[in-house]
Amino acid sequence: MSSKAALFDSPKKIRPGFVPWLLLIFSALVALALAAPMLFIVYQGLTADPSIWQRLWRLGRLQTLFINTFILTLIVTTGTLFLGVALAWLTERTNVPGKRWWTPLLSLPLLIPGYLLAIAYESFWSRWGLLAEVLTSWGMNDIAAIVPSITGLLGASIVLILSLYPYVYLLARAALRGVNTALEDTARTCGLNPRKFFWFMTLPLIRPSLVAAALLVAVMTMADYAVVARMGFPTFTNAVYSQLTTRLDRSTASVLSLALIVATVLLIMFQLYLWGKGRHYYRTSRQPIAPEASSSRGLMLILIVVLSAFLLPVGIFLYWMVQGWLHPTQANAIWGTGLADLLRFAWHGLLSAGSAATLALALALPMAYLSVRYRDRKFSRGFAWLSQAGLALPGVLVALGLALVLHRTLPELYFSVAALVIAYLILFFPFAFQTLESGLTQIPQSLEEAARMLRQKTVSVWRHVTLPLLVPGLMTAWVFVFTNALRELPATLLLRPPGFDTLPVRIWIAAGEGYLTQAAPAALLLIALSLPLLFLLDPVRTESKRTK
């Protein structure tokens, strides 16, 4: 009995008597709807001809691809964790100069699609690339000759880390804000040296957010095809795609996708394991923390990241665009897109991505709430799994599944903007969910209980306490879904109504045939479009007024 005594005084997470039926049912419906294409793929995979399994098993190539994927995912996840946490620490807890500006700039890679970053990097870094060209034109042939080529595993890792670290960065930063700094101060007075202190004190406190971000990063790495194909580093998705494209064999593609689904589910279970044991000590108040002094190394890191993740690719696109103006060729007329059209396509993207983001929020919030506040209940996490298991599936496969379902059941929606929005929802729902879950864990349940003790019924509690405090999380979730949907390509190509092109589609049309100069304006517009959103993400300015 005494060993259980320690559990005793911890406020139990189960709310008394109130069985969250409504939340459960809603979550069940949402999870099933979102998982439908994935379930369909699973069904296809499981009912596939057994000879497929045999053939694949004998395929030696599969093992290599599997190992490649594993290594890449490991490297990218650790890389983004290190980078994201370091940057969050620098911008949140130190006095690094220009703090106000770095914070939005560091989130910018969210706006650049991975495939564009890969294209930019590949064309820049190589003995025959842009950098070498520029160096040669300045007469520095020797240096030009030794410009390294960044391809293969190195290239894929670098591009993916630079592309994905913002997820870790943003979630870690939000978590650092919510941490009980009094705990930290106490530990500091106990004489823990700064490094140990960070490792043993701060990190565990922000662990849930890190775990959520890491999950997103890992799964996105597993699912990526465009970047690794460009960099010539074949991963598992390569096998899926080749089955789909060269053999038009959805069955085999489905069988292979089962592996991706299993991997995702394992990751989610791992995430829950890492998350579940932690007790989270949050206090609503905090004494203002004296920021640590920053080192020049910190500033340098920030500069390098901003440069490589954003300024460099944008610079490259600008260069191409200017080249296109200065040396117009016939290709412009054929492969370029006029400004009026570009704006129209941008508009399409904004509409569909915006709708998807809002709907994702509406659907994810109840599920996230169920998952966080009713953690011990049987199904609360099950629905989360169901809706996220498809995260690693290639977009084209999910789109095909959705197309089939719509064609057979709701033909009016086939090739409608609604179908596109639904596809975005299915693909990017986990972003909303993870972010909201992370945000909700930072709102102590005792706040909601306090509100109940002040005569507020459940809805009123949510309205006056939970939601206002969740606003930053909601913003972040919205932006995550929006930016992903805005840049999405394979599902958009397949499901969009004729004429409803988006900017990524235009980029693909030109870039796929190698017309990078003609693709550049669309790419730049895509990036520019999402820039205003950063102000939604970063309330640094308001914050500094309140903290004394």
Binding site: L350, L351, S355, A357, L361, A418, G514
Partner: protein, 345 residues
């Protein structure tokens, strides 16, 4: 995180969301049928290369066209999936192998007209399930600064010679055109020869790039001396970058295999709702007007005899072509994939 709410931003978010959803729901639905008929085309051929043809067709016939363009193979999957109630009437693709594949799966319907019969038999399905509209051949592009015309290999099989070590680039073997080429090699020269050749490619440090355009650019900037790709890339590189490049058609000798000529084509989907219009479209694709556009736009070979190629493009009939019919080729593609899997490539 715990900070005062950002009321203004909350409001912005809500407004933006409402706006987007309203905007989306107000999007016009599928275009309704108008007079003159309707046709829905799925095109794996990129829009800029097909829209001029479609526009001409629209003007000529008054038929309302709904063009859905996208990734070749994804659309092919869609065609398969839509049976038995297809939405797309015509499937247009860059890779005749896909057409043949769809034919084998039984999702195409046959159509042969006098216009179509004018296209050489080699470039269309024997039973009339599909027809090729424009041709592309497996040529060699070289950088004139690095290779003199005399040094060029007479046969494409010479690239596994040590003198070309690390100097040759080609597309990924599993990409459509290259896959077709390997298939033609297998059919013409046998499995053993092909296996040896393919394995030697790796040994000879052939650089595999992600797509024809990459190979063309690599040759253009002198990264490699020689590139194996579709013939029109030479003209494109000249037009856009004015690079020091030349084009070379190997294996033209009397005992050689010639170059493989593949075709981009179209087919009518089985159960299509607008069959009459679809047939008109196919006829239009092989008409002189459309053929001329294919020739001019992307430097491809018009398959209708008598239509001139673009300037700078060597006419097809002056070249020796690998004597294999495309539908046979298409049937063998799967086996080539198995073949590649088996040899571990």
């Amino acid at each position: 995180m715990i900070q005062p709410p950002v009321g203004r931003r909350w409001l912005t978010l809500v407004l933006v969301s409402v706006f987007c959803i309203t905007g989306v729901s107000l999007q016009p639905a599928q275009t309704s049928a108008q007079q003159g008929g309707q046709l829905i085309i799925y095109s794996g051929r990129r829009e800029p290369l097909i829209v001029p043809v479609i526009d001409l067709f629209k003007k000529a016939t008054g038929i309302q066209i709904t063009l859905k363009s996208g990734e070749d193979q994804a659309l092919a999957n869609l065609v398969l999936q839509e049976q038995p109630n297809p939405i797309g009437d015509v499937y247009l693709t860059v890779d005749s192998g896909l057409l043949e594949f769809l034919r084998i799966k039984g999702v195409l319907q046959t159509y042969t007209s006098d216009a179509i019969k004018k296209i050489p038999e080699r470039f269309r399905a024997a039973d009339g399930s599909w027809v090729g509209a424009s041709g592309r051949g497996r040529a060699m592009m070289y950088n004139t600064n690095l290779v003199k015309p005399e040094e060029l290999p007479k046969s494409v099989f010479e690239i596994i010679d040590s003198k070309w070590k690390g100097k040759v680039s080609m597309d990924n073997l599993r990409k459509e055109s290259t896959l077709a080429w390997i298939t033609s090699m297998r059919l013409a020269k046998g499995a053993a020869f092909t296996q040896n050749f393919v394995l030697k490619l790796k040994e000879n440090q052939v650089i595999f790039l992600d797509g024809g355009p990459e190979v063309r650019k690599a040759v253009g900037r002198g990264q490699v001396a020689l590139g194996l790709l579709n013939h029109y890339h030479y003209n494109i590189e000249l037009r856009d970058n004015k690079s020091p490049v030349g084009v070379h058609y190997p294996d033209q000798g009397p005992t050689d295999v010639g170059i493989l000529v593949n075709a981009a084509g179209a087919a009518i989907v089985k159960g299509a709702k607008h069959v009459a219009e679809a047939r008109k479209f196919l006829d239009f694709l092989v008409s002189a007007e459309a053929q001329k556009i294919f020739a001019e736009l992307n430097y491809e070979w018009p398959l209708l005899p008598g239509v001139a190629t673009a300037e700078g493009v060597r006419p097809l009939d002056s070249l020796k072509q690998t004597p294999v019919s495309l539908d046979k080729l298409g049937q063998e593609l799967q086996n080539t994939l198995d073949f590649l899997d088996a040899i571990g490539f």
